[in-house]
Symmetry: C2
């Protein structure tokens, strides 16, 4: 497993040349009500299955679920911040949503280099999101243009967001 290249203040990328097939990073995300509120505000999807406990209790899920594409957002952040990291250009993503995600779920996102083109700095990255039971929640392939220049950048502060 590749060590995460995020320090407190900087991120260092992996260049196309440095990336090797099988190289991977893994990180966890604990899904919170805040994630769901923020995804709703960002996307405009205020469906009650995500936001309304009483409504969600009447659905097949029995309680509120996260938006499926929230896992896509986590994957995209892993590509941009960790593997390959800064300078990466996102070209495409496939995603299969396999299981619902609930508040409190501990998701593990694992990104693994699967294929490198020889004619262009394009890399296919296998993306797996599992829950605490080890069950696949979402998976797919990302295609990115990996950075060609090594870079260490200062990480901007997380935007301060207040809900409610």
């Amino acid at each position: 497993m590749t060590q995460s290249a995020i320090t407190n203040n900087t991120i260092t990328n992996y260049t196309f040349e440095e990336l090797t097939i099988g190289q991977s990073v893994s990180f966890t995300k604990v899904v919170s009500d805040e994630h769901i509120q923020l995804f709703a505000a960002t996307s405009g999807d205020v469906n009650p299955v995500h936001l309304d406990d009483d409504f969600a209790a009447t659905t097949q899920f029995g309680k509120r679920i996260a938006h499926g594409m929230l896992t896509g957002a986590f994957i995209s952040a892993g590509l941009a911040m960790q593997l390959p990291g800064p300078g990466t250009v996102y070209l495409g993503q496939s995603l299969t949503f396999r299981k619902p995600v609930f508040i409190g779920d501990v998701l593990t996102v694992t990104l693994t280099v699967k294929e490198k083109r020889t004619d262009k700095p394009f890399v296919t990255i296998d993306c797996q999101v599992t829950n605490a039971d080890g069950k696949a929640v979402a998976f797919g392939d990302a295609v990115v243009m990996a950075p060609e220049a090594k870079a260490t950048i200062t990480v901007p502060a997380m935007p301060k967001v207040t809900i409610g």
Copy 2:
């Protein structure tokens, strides 16, 4: 073009049976700095190409760009709120990111029913995101399980979010 089924307070879905090949909805999103800040806070991607004007000026893009997956978030909201709408279960999504998205870009998201399975209520929906110049910014296919029961639901309020 299918009329949007969102009123001020309620949304009505389209059931699997009601959906017809070629049926479509279209809506616009003006990409704002707020969208980018919220997507950063939601996903954890605080890359300076999204958040730092000075850094972004040094990149190939010349100015700050939106996160690619923000277009995925807009598409997912369209599926969940409009076509097919409430009761839809998101099964998968493919996305190609073709052009960068900048603050102020007026994006048009168009969702069109492309295929209906006969054995299961699964529907493939063509997803196109274009900018004000009519250029494709992102596109792909969504696969959803369409609702089987007609439903009109009350839309929860948009979460109140304050940035900064």
